[in-house]
């Protein structure tokens, strides 16, 4: 979680000085979900993500230096500088794809689960999306087919209450995403996204079932986006009071107090984790800066696979 937090704080700074290029969406405040879910997955389990993907990529194992190099548009980037922040693919670690159109990733995840079914493999597919995707057709078509075909896919909705710049209440009369899928009869649960052990336990139960070939399931994590929809967003739509409340629900602060109260980890160890994460991010930035920009002719070579 500290690795995600430190990475994204650094990305925000690099974006302000234009060392990171293009459209950037940060997940600060929502790291707990990525960490609690992806930590439990194997490299051959697939994750599909959306435009706010850095956290999922890091938690799934993408190397920070390659990720930073991608965001800085360098040849050594995860996708050789062709994808950028919203289109991350790290096949080696099972990040099969982040895709930039809200909800466009959901049916793709079903395809991966179908492949696992056809090949009688126990691989599990997880798809992350926000509450904004739920009102789109992709979600509803996919939920129906996943239920009909009983695919081993776990839908993980990060419900941060905002679809881009608009509150959920302006999009739908249905308060909880878990209620949207109720008629399909599959297992679903809503948890506080900042309560990392709660996310971990709820997901663990779903993962056991999916590993056994069951599915689909939906885990709704009530979370928060501490920053704007994108870096540079003026956030005039924000409620100042809610901001203060959310300060207290920061998943890192919350996990820290849970960890010390329960005796899982002591303060010096926790401080060490943060220091290590910051050092790793410093190194990642150095490595990324040392990577050259890609050959401008690369795009024409990659439009088509050769066969």
């Amino acid at each position: 979680m500290w690795r995600i937090r430190c990475f994204e704080e650094r990305v925000a700074r690099l974006k302000r000085t234009l060392q990171v290029h293009g459209l950037i969406h940060l997940s600060i405040g929502g790291e707990g979900v990525a960490a609690a879910v992806c930590r439990q997955l194997r490299d051959d389990d697939a994750v599909y993500s959306g435009h706010r993907a850095h956290g999922h990529a890091i938690a799934k194992g993408a190397p920070l230096d390659k990720l930073m190099a991608e965001l800085m548009g360098r040849a050594g980037g995860l996708c050789r500088g062709l994808g950028g922040s919203m289109h991350l693919v790290d096949r080696e670690h099972g990040l099969l794809g982040a895709t930039g159109v809200v909800g466009g990733n959901i049916p793709l995840a079903l395809g991966n689960a179908l492949a696992a079914r056809v090949r009688a493999s126990d691989e599990v597919t997880v798809v992350f999306f926000g509450d904004g995707a739920v009102q789109a057709g992709h979600f509803n078509e996919s939920v129906n087919l996943a239920a009909l075909w009983e695919l081993p896919v776990i839908f993980v909705c990060e419900n941060n209450g905002f679809a881009e710049f608009t509150p959920r209440s302006a999009h739908t009369p249905v308060a909880r995403v878990a209620d949207v899928v109720a008629p399909y009869g599959f297992d679903r649960e809503t948890v506080q996204g900042s309560d990392v052990p709660a996310v971990f336990e709820a997901f663990a139960a779903f993962l056991r079932a999916a590993r056994g070939g069951h599915g689909p399931m939906l885990l709704e994590c009530l979370t928060h986006r501490r920053r704007g929809h994108y870096e540079g967003d003026q956030q005039r739509y924000r409620d100042a009071t809610a901001e203060e409340q959310w300060e207290q629900r920061d998943p890192l602060a919350r996990l820290r107090s849970q960890a010390t109260a329960q005796g899982w980890l002591d303060e010096p160890t926790l401080d060490g984790l943060e220091r290590e994460a910051r050092a790793e991010v410093d190194t990642a930035v150095e490595v990324a800066r040392a990577s050259p920009f890609p050959d401008p002719g690369l795009p024409t070579q990659l439009v088509y696979a050769s066969a």
Partner: protein, 326 residues
Amino acid sequence: MAREIPYIAAINEAIHLEMARDEDVLYFGQNLATTENDEFVKSFGHDRVRVTPISETAEIGIAIGAALAGLRPVVELYMAEFMLVAMNQVVNEAPRFRYMSGGRVKVPLVLKAGYGFTAGWAGQHTGSIYGMFMGVPGLKVALPATAADAKGLMATAIRDDNPVCYFHHYLLTLEPGDVPEGEHLVPFGEAAVRREGGDVTIVATGWMVGKALAAAESLAAEGLSAEVIDPRTLVPLDIATILTSVEKTGRVVLVDQAPRHASASAVIAAEIADRGFSSLKAPIKQVTALDATIPYSEPMEAYVLPDEEKIAGAARQVLGSAPVTA
């Protein structure tokens, strides 16, 4: 050994053979495999042959995800227009993934859709919409005009490592033709010269190939020799064969069932103007559908579409035996 079978049977034969050859090939779509007597279900089972609900976005999206996982899905979409329901998946997901990953993944899938059903199906089931997919880097576009090509292009599409839009023409569905038995592959990007001639080059696709050949026949009766070229795939486009023919004839008529401003012929005309201008002895003529939605009533439908007479008329104009008009 070749034997005569209908265009549609040739397509099905290709899919069947490829599914038998490679267990990674899946086939799914609406109204498919609804009975146990279905030839595909009997041969390959419901795991690989699936009926889907009317959910184009999910069908195509699942195919992309399955392709990224290493399978080779063929999606039965019936009508080309149904792809429009799922344009995000067709345009923004399938052809972008390989590229945006820096070439680290591939998306081998076939989107099979019929088009051009101009037999009173009116405005929403008759479109010749392949032109819009030519403008999407990463997609390939196949347009078979004969039963043999219907088989050979489908087999090649399934083996291709890229997303392929395979558009079969509904008015050719029952058209018989000699089709090789067993494995038959037609390479992408190789145009077929359907008729050789020295006076004018006519380029046509799909159902229009037959119209162009009929026009060439009537021109021959007037002593005019037309060469008819069928590109077979629009992406990749075999512009070299077309330019070679234009060098010989110096005159071109481009025939396309699509509305002019969304046609493949507009792209081919631009390529000829760009690369073959010095060969031209007359302006390039395009015989396309009008820039109008296909109407329902038969005389209006005929008015909007290209036909043999319009093609022959355009050829006479570029040959100077009739005045060139807009």
